[in-house]
Structure formats: C-alpha cells, structure tokens
Amino acid sequence: MTETLTYSQAYREGLVEEMTENEAIFVMGTDIFLRGGHFAQVLGLGEKFGVERIRDVPISEAAMVAAGVGAALQGMRPIVDLNFLDFSFGCMDELCNQAAKIHYMFDIPVPLVVRATNGVAYGGAQHNNVIDSWFAEMPGLNVAVPSTPRDVKGLIKSSLRLDDPVLFLMDKSLTGARGEVGGPADLIPFGRADVVRAGRDMTLVSYGASVRLCHRAADILDERDISAEIIDLRTLYPLDLETVCASVRKTGRAVIVDESAGYGGVSAELAASIQRSSFNYLDAPIGRVHAAHSPVPQSPPLIKAMMPSGQTIVDEVCLLMESS
C-alpha cells in the first residue's frame, strides 16, 4: 500500500523539498521553532533548518507580514504563518494595500506566501471566520484552498515558485486527514480545478472541508438515482471557471457549497459567472449551500445547526431537481 501523509504532514513535506532546493525560502510565525506551529505544520523543521529559517516572531501580525513583504522585495521568499486566518485582521493593510499592490504599482514582484487556517471548527466566533473570498476579491492576491494532502503538497510547492503573493489557506478540520501525495516534481498549478467525482445530473462545486460534505451528499443522491459531479476548486483566485462551466453545461444544474456566511463571496461569484456564460444550458436555478449568516457559536449542537451538511446539500439538490 502506498504511504499516506496527513494534510499537515503533506504541507511539511512540500516545504522541506522546496526549502532544500531554494535557500531564499524561510518561515516566520508564532510558536513555530519548538512547537512546530499550532497545527504541527512545521514540526521538526526548526531542528532541520535552524532559527534563521524557521523564525519565531512575536504576536505582531502587521510587523510579520510587513517583514515578509520587505524581505520579498529584497530577494527573499518568505512564508508568513498566521496560524489562524482570523489573525489577518491585524495585518489587513500589509496584505491588501502593500503585498497585493506592489507588483502593479512598482513593477516589482512580491513572492510572499501567507499561510493560515480557514474553515469552521471549535473555538467560537473569533477563531472561525470564513473570509477566504475577501482575499480572492483583492486584485493582486492568489488564494489556495486545498482539500487533500496531495493538493496541499502540490499547491504549496507551486506557491513557493510563484512571483506574486499567495494566501495559502488550510482547512482546520482537515488537519489530520490522510491521503497519498505526489513526488518532488508533482506541482499542482493555480487556477486548475479538479473534477473529483464524475456525474451526470448535477454539478456540486466546492473547496476545502466542504468537498467531503459533497461526497457524502453524492453517496446519498446515488441511492436516489441522482448522479452528482463534484468539482474541487483548489484555488479561489485564479478561479477555474472553464472547468466549472464545462461541467454545468453537461449536467444542466449547479449547487455551490461552502462554509461561508452566505452573503456575497465565492458562491455568488460563481453563480453570476455560470449564469452569464451558460444560461441556455441550465435546467434549474443555481443553488447555494452555506453556513448561516451568523458568527460561529461555541456549543456543538449550535454549530451543527448553522453549518452545511451532506443532508442540507441533498435537500437543496432535490429541491432543484424537482423544479426542473
């Protein structure tokens, strides 16, 4: 049996391969040298690469991203690890007004990777913001949202070879998920979605942890003789509309699934793009399944009640199938 890695280990393996090849790469983040990060994402790399390249920083998000941008301008290839994407609120200017715009304004590339976790887990309202689409909307930023160990490794390797800033968003709830990964030469390009399950009647478009929900839903739908195709976007910017629309033109229906609070965002962007390009192929309105428009609560039953699930996807799909 082929060896499998966890989602976190896959990140680490991709990093080790790239850091070994390219001495300009270094990591800045809180609690990374000894602890290896809050998700063990760089566990053991401190010993391997030393304190200069696995660099602990104080809890100063603005300074660490500024340090990353400035070092990138000086020819380095920094990774800033924010641990939680929620902490990006403390460095929004550095991400969106500096990193994102410098290549455009100054004609100097900024090869900066900012890693953070995305998605909803326990910990309450301030550690579970789903704001991936904010960054995808910002001209100048690329956004990766891998859902499997293979994609994590392939996309972090690509990220470390791009000349422009990347938000590398790993889903908290997938930290321990296992899977096979590619070898040192297996890069996954930005802007290429993956058709992870072929189907006939319905296209489910998703990313991150929600891809698993789509698989769950597709299994249930199979029993009802409804065949769902699942597309994992893998990157939110660039967004692979071509793959999405090709699928929708085949199935005639689309439901977009994510953990966002459901106002604007990736699903709205996709719905608009799909209807504009493929209106004549649609047999039903485009559906959206997302979380409630609410902060994330502490209580597990409350979280469950507000989040999408396999069943809520099935319900939306069945509603749309009936309407067509």
Partner: protein, 345 residues
Amino acid sequence: MLESEASGETSAPSSLADEVSSDRLLDWLDGMLVIRHFESESVRLSLAGKIPGGIHSSEGQEAVAVGTVGALQDQDVASGTHRSHHHALAKGLSPRSVMAELYGKATGLSEGRGGSMHLVDASRRFLGSNGIVGAGLGLAMGAALGMKLQSQDLVAVGFFGDGGANTGRVWESINLAALWKLPLIAVCENNLYAVETHIADSMAGTSIADRATGFGLPAETVDGQDIAAVHDAVRRARERAVDGGGPTFLEMRTYRYEGHNVGDVQNYRQLAEVEDWRAHRDPITRLRQHLERGGVLLPGGYDAAVERARQEVADAIAFAEASEWPETADVMKSWPQQALSVVSA
C-alpha cells in the same frame, strides 16, 4: 553642527569639515534647492489641475531627506511616506520621471500606475513612497531582515511621521527590528502636524524618541533643519547597523511650510508660526550661510544654484507636459495572474 539663528542656539563643534567635503556640501545645497523648487512647482501644478489627486509638499523638510541619503551607500534602501517627494529626489530618482509620474504620464516611474504616494525606483533602491501612514517603515524593516539574512553590509531607512508614531504598526516594526538587531534606521520626521492635528493634541508622553527607548534601541532627537546634524546622526546609525549593532531610532524635528495637501485652509496653525520656521530655521538658508561664511559658496554662487534648480525643475515639467499618456490597453500591464478565463457564452 550648523549655526542656527533660532534663539541663537549653537550646537557643539561640527565634525562636518572633517567628514564632508566642500563639494558634497555644495551638492547638498543643490539637492535641497531642487526639492524646494520641485515642491513649489508641484503645488502650483496641482492647483492648476495638471497633477490629479493633489500632492503633499515636503517644502521645509529638505534637510531630513538630503542629509539622510547623504550618509547612505547607493545600495542602501529607503522607503517613504505619503509626503515623500524629497525622499525620492534625494535618493536619486530623476525629477523628470517623478514629475511625469505625478502627471500620470507614460514616461513616469511606473508609467502612471503609481502617483505621488507610490513613487518607486528599484534601481535607485527606493522602495516607494506609501499612501498608508507608518507602512513604509514596515517595508524597510522587512528589507533590513532580507539584508541580514543575505549577510549584506547594507542598511534600510524607513521614514515615517509624527502621525505614524501613533500607529500600532510602527511600534510592531520597531520591536521586531530591535529584537532581531536588524540594520534598520527608523527616521521619524516630526513636522508637528498629522494632517491638521498638532502633536500636543495627539501624543501622550514626552517625546516620540522617548517612546522608542522603551524598545531598547538607541533613540535620538535630531534638529531636522540642520543638515549636518541629520547627516551625522544617520552616519553613526549606519555604522552601528553594519557593525551588527542593530537599529537606531531618529526623531527629526522638522516643519512643513505648506498644508497637509494642496489647497488646505490652514485654520489649525498660525501664519506667524510658519513664518518663524521659514525665517529662523530654514535648512537651506542655514547651509547657505555656513557655506558663505566658510568661503565655500562665493558671491553669486547661491543665485546660480537657485537658477540651476529652477532650470532642472522647468525641464522636468516640460518633459512631463510633452510626454504621452499611457496606452489604455496597457492598464493590466505587468499585472500578475489574470482571472482565468471568462467563459464565453
């Protein structure tokens, strides 16, 4: 240090004569005069509608920029603020390319994609003026980190103002630079006003430099209208940085003669205050007097220098006027990745 006419203050004997040749002092005078005329013309052109979006004039603050850059090596980095024409020109960006960028012409530094608050020239190692208060310091701090990791004997200078000294990001950067002993020189241009708010109404504590001492790095208050004092402070800071001694914080007391932006109605300060700074502490006048007293600047020499500056700025304006607008088809030029395909219907 140069003798000041303000309340007859005279600093300790200057090492200027030993450190800086007469030719360089004359270059500094030229440099400050070009900035002064560039700024007064920029204000005029902005009010005339030639420069879209206005500008923040650095008139009065020339010595901070010219004296600081005069103590740097060519490969040292500087990054600026929203009020940064003087930094850019001092760092060697040509008046032509800066003026054309202010106009938004194709011959500008960034071919019209930047503007007054986003002036850049990587070849001159100027990492940009910056529209966000305090942000330029962060970029310089990051560049200093890169220099340290690359074992280069270079320094980065980050300019910011008294307004920036009230932002969190400035102190995050100072802390990190001090913690990591980065080759950073943090230059706070305290011109007393953050837009329209006087520092007495915005700053708790005794001085900005005093705040910095709490971070454990050397912090000095410098007469920013004395180019010799500016140069000396930066020279020492640079030596300390390349010797591995880490960053230095320099609060330079200076003054802007114009308002925050062009056309401001200045109800927030007395005209007499502006006139006092112009009459008694002007950095150009002080250097001129020093040079004339020492016989370095001969009779007629100053007027000739003023005329050279006028001509250089006039040439820059003529260049900007004659330049073409950017091709609108190039609006996405040098832009990273495009949104993948818009799928055609």
